[in-house]
């Protein structure tokens, strides 16, 4: 099965970690035949065929490219298992915004997965923005991922992880 790293525990606390997970989902291209089981579709294909698949009681995920607005999924989110946000190049930071919007504005509680050029050096940012699953492109292990995500004992701004911010720590 493809290698997926999943967060364990609560990212707002200090104890969260990461582990290998079986990825039950298959990425399906726009022109591919649909396999059995759980699938991740492009936004366009989901908008065309998603309804049918969901009513077949499959688990469905949607892949959103950086130039696509994640708000387009607003009404479907309660029924989606996964939103995969793409990093065509790790430098393309639009998925960080998409992840935060999914979590903080659209209230998505399913899996937010980072796909594409996903590197452990950005683990910390991804976790803070609400990603909880990762398809690493750099051979990272869950241990490396956990370490990278725990590099900073303090953070200065609020984000999707609801981690306590520096000034909240001081207030105690």
């Amino acid at each position: 099965m493809p290698k997926l790293i999943k967060l364990t525990g609560d990212p707002s606390g200090k104890d969260f970690g990461a582990e290998w997970a079986e990825d039950g989902f298959v990425h399906v291209g726009d022109d591919d035949a649909l396999p059995e089981g759980d699938v991740i579709l492009s936004l366009a294909r989901f908008q065309a065929e998603g309804e049918i698949l969901l009513s077949n009681s499959r688990r469905v995920g949607v892949r959103v490219e950086p130039d696509q607005e994640v708000e387009a999924l607003a009404y479907d989110l309660p029924r989606l298992s996964v939103v995969a946000l793409a990093f065509p190049k790790y430098r393309d930071g639009r998925a960080y915004t998409s992840a935060r919007l999914l979590r903080e504005r659209l209230g998505f509680t399913g899996q937010v997965r980072a796909v594409g050029d996903v590197l452990q050096e950005q683990a910390g940012f991804m976790v803070r923005c609400g990603f909880d699953a990762f398809e690493p492109a750099d051979g990272a292990t869950p241990e490396a991922w956990t370490k990278a995500a725990h590099r900073f004992r303090h953070v200065y701004q609020r984000a999707a992880d609801h981690r306590r911010v520096a000034f909240e720590e001081r207030a105690v």
Binding site: P66, E69, Y90, R91, D92, G93, R94, Y96, T97, R100, E104, R105, L119, E121, Q122, G124, F125, M126, R128, C129, D138, R151, F152, R153, H154, V155, Y156, Q157, R158, A159, A166, F167, E169, R170, A171
Partner: protein, 552 residues
Amino acid sequence: MYLYDAIDREFLTDRSNEFRHQVARRLAGELTEDQFKPLRLMNGLYLQLHAYMLRIAIPYGSLNSRQVRRLAWIGRTYDKGYGHFTTRQNLQFHWIKLKDVPDILDAMAEVDLHAIQTSGNCIRNVTADPYAGATAEEIDDPRVWSEVLRQWSTLHPEFSFLPRKFKIAVTGALTDRAAVKTHDIGLFLRKGRDGAIGFEVVAGGGQGRTPYIAQTVRSYLPAEHLLSYVEAILRVYNRHGRRDNIYKARIKILVAALGIEEFTRQVEEEWGKINAERADLPAAELDRIRAAFAQPRFETLPDVSDAFEAARAASPALQRFVRNNVKPHKVPGYAIVEVSLKAIGQTPGDATADQLDVVADLGERYSLDDIRVTHAQNLVLPHVKLDDLPAVHAALEAAGLATANIDLASDIIACPGLDYCALANARAIPIAQDIARKFADPDRAEKVGELKIKISGCINACGHHHVAHIGILGVDKKGEEFYQLSLGGSGAEDASIGKILGPGLSADKVAPAIDALVEAYLHIRTGEERFLDTYRRVGLEPFKEAVYAQAD
């Protein structure tokens, strides 16, 4: 100034450890250069022509003596005994080795200095009026808000991979000493109708290939909503800024493409969706930060210092220094002292380690341990007693730091240019030195008066040539260094973009051309007109004639 506590210090330690780890991975081949480059850039580390360059953050241009001494020490220990101050109030070291950087960051962290986000496609050093807290014409202290933004923007998880760099500047005074309108976001402190503090928010300024003056997005934003509003702007930019072409990726391009009305509409719409209570800073934290900038214990002094007046009467050099480099302070008996890093024939903006130590001593002894950097690559001692001015002047003079030329023709802004920078097309430093020598006679320089000459060695415009009274852009024309002059730019509150004067000049013709422009100005000016004023009155033609007739 803002004093780091345990939390801030642990943050710097963690950052330094992170970079040490990243360097190790890079050296071991676990990271490619492509993967490593943004990581080192976000710690201010560039690969330049001769070595690495490390750009150290000087938040809103503010330093204490301990920090300045440590910078001197770093310059001696890891570099060639000097540093270079930049147009964003930062300090650069030009001869750094990658393997030393983790140790350098550790040494900096000991005095609460860092190089976080001084490069990279993220929010950069927030710059501010260097006279903050000392000038009488201040609605509120811009350092408070700069520090708020600095913390909020530090390792912001959503905004660390923007389409391009992002620069914010803040001023609390009507006189703009921070080139605010050339920034991606500019913040002007304003008083609301109810007497509350707020901001005029401008956006879309920038220089480089396509210069723009920032436009007003919101004429009044209550100050407590600064972070949520800036978040809205950043989010619109992160989502919609272009990523297909690095020359079209700044927010100024987005603002120009959408038009200010549509841009504003998008920002306001996004802002409306942000949970301000969560996004904005709680009042208690704002108070804590504000308290860090509380007015220091000034002495109660008379307006006039007899000792100073006597010394001044006896010294034409001191008179000249005061005329040009000393500015009024909000507290009677005090003054703001500019320290020129533009000695004739020296590299503009450079200070030796010894000079830094002198500035540290003076800052500690005579300026309430407060030292500032201006975007014109000079330093400031913001709180000097008039009584102490003669001693300060003497010490500066002994260290080669008393050139009485602030805002005069020899107070030139120049980027490092092709002598150092991998991006440059032409050299800037020798041109600056040539021009400065033309105005070495201080009487001539004073006769000419305020004349802001700014030189960039390439279109990236780090020398701010677009907003110069006389701007000079170095270009590579078939392998030769040529220089394009422009007139009438201003980075102050009367911001404007300069107009190109004519065809580029070869290097040896630039200083004579400046001479010709100045002579033309002296000939045409009326009353108290500065060069900029005369140009604005008479236009390009008389100046064009002066230069191109001369060049033949």
